[in-house]
Symmetry: C2
């Protein structure tokens, strides 16, 4: 079946969450949002392109930082309302310079930091 | 630092997305939503408990199907607006009986099914 980004299910802002997962390690790197045009651009260019809610503009991941995400595989879930981008990540995915944004765990009621910023 | 679910960032419906990842394989299984009370119950019981937007009620994953998710580790992202639950998943995570909800890939403009329902 041919894929059309318009057939995905977007929220009332026209956005769909996209999870980025590291191709090699399987690590979940981050979650951000896409609109239909972001999805189309990501597929066309192979560069993962989110929609920045704060800046209200397209966000080609790594365009300014160099920490690009190259698309390896784009997947959608059963409800068509969430995406999974399998990616090759250059450097840290997180703006704090950590490999993943999910660097804090909740253990025994305490927040524990699992990763330090990359050198 | 002591963890309080109220310090997470929820959307205007009071919800936060939670990604479930298989502890052993690293596979991304599904994404669903939690409210502050779901987060608290998940931590207290060790059973991953979402908020069902369609039923407007708590959803203890696997309570009716038996396909439970036992919490191994709960993580939050840098913006505190997305959760990652590392889980032990019994059977399929998806209501279609597939291991993961992300069983469809977009390749060369076509939708490709990557997984069949579990027997």
């Amino acid at each position: 079946m041919s894929f059309d980004p318009a057939t995905l299910v977007y929220d009332d802002r026209g956005l769909i969450p996209c999870i980025a997962q590291d191709e090699e390690t399987g690590e979940v790197l981050m979650m951000a949002w896409m609109n239909a045009e972001s999805v189309a651009r990501t597929l066309e260019t192979g560069k993962v392109t989110y929609w920045s809610r704060s800046r209200q503009s397209f966000w080609v991941k790594g365009e300014t930082s160099g920490h690009v995400q190259s698309l390896v595989d784009l997947r959608l879930d059963c409800d068509r309302d969430c995406l999974l981008a399998v990616v090759r990540q250059v450097g840290p995915a997180c703006h704090t310079n950590r490999r993943s944004c999910f660097y804090t765990a909740v253990r025994d009621g305490e927040e524990v930091e699992l990763m330090t910023p990359m050198g």
